[in-house]
Symmetry: C2
Subunit: 142 residues, 2 copies
């Protein structure tokens, strides 16, 4: 681990195998969620806690990547809804959850952090190569 | 109710008394949440479901208002963390939750939609007039 990184922060030590898309400031990773395999996280590289800790240009960039990830997931998976969230209560390293939701998934219409509503259908994750290309395309568009 | 609005959408028919800040495109409202009184919602005026349904300039504007609300709540309330979320699973009218979180609140470190962790301290909401002024200031800065 490089010096000056907080010990035990899982988002400071991501596995390269999980990274779907990246640039110098942030990356999009796949998440092993058994009930919501399509869930992606957009992770800021630097260990900061809040969006408003970032310079305005940096927070706009991170938000643009979140929007590009939303657009790519919508185009590939056609979910019934997209859920976006940035909490950091357990891991105070800035990251966004971008979650394709389906009316028949385990928690709908509750948040995925809420009570299960049914056993729930499990919808496949996006194809990683096509997703990365779609994120690039969405960023280039705007 | 004006014509062409979806029936029974509570975010198409906000009470003016709940509006803390507004402009032509969106508004910030107070939310009656007994356990998290500081919770604010940023509501897009038009009845659309997803961020990527908006034109890029509009989604950047809405995001700037979410960031200004985060900055205003941090300055006034000094919470331990800010949580941001946009779901719309129950009310598919674009809105953001901006939630000041405290280590001793009812759900921390879970999301406020998760299981209660304790009875929980209840921290006061921001002063509405000062909050509106702080949102204006934060928007003017960037």
């Amino acid at each position: 681990m490089p010096p000056n990184l907080p010990p035990n922060c899982p988002l400071c030590a991501l596995s390269p195998a999980d990274i779907l898309w990246e640039d110098a400031r942030c990356c999009v990773i796949r998440v092993a969620d058994a009930f919501h395999p399509g869930l992606c996280r957009v992770v800021w590289r630097e260990h900061v806690a809040e969006m408003t800790d970032l310079l305005p240009a940096d927070r706009r960039h991170l938000f643009a990547v979140v929007m590009a990830t939303e657009a790519a997931l919508r185009a590939q998976l056609r979910p019934d809804k997209i859920n976006l969230a940035s909490f950091g209560n357990m891991v105070p390293h800035l990251h966004w959850h971008v979650i394709p939701r389906y009316r028949d998934d385990r928690h709908f219409p509750e948040a995925v952090w809420g009570a299960a509503q049914r056993e729930g259908a499990v919808h496949a994750a996006a194809d990683p190569v096509a997703l990365a290309r779609a994120i690039d395309d969405a960023l280039a568009e705007h």
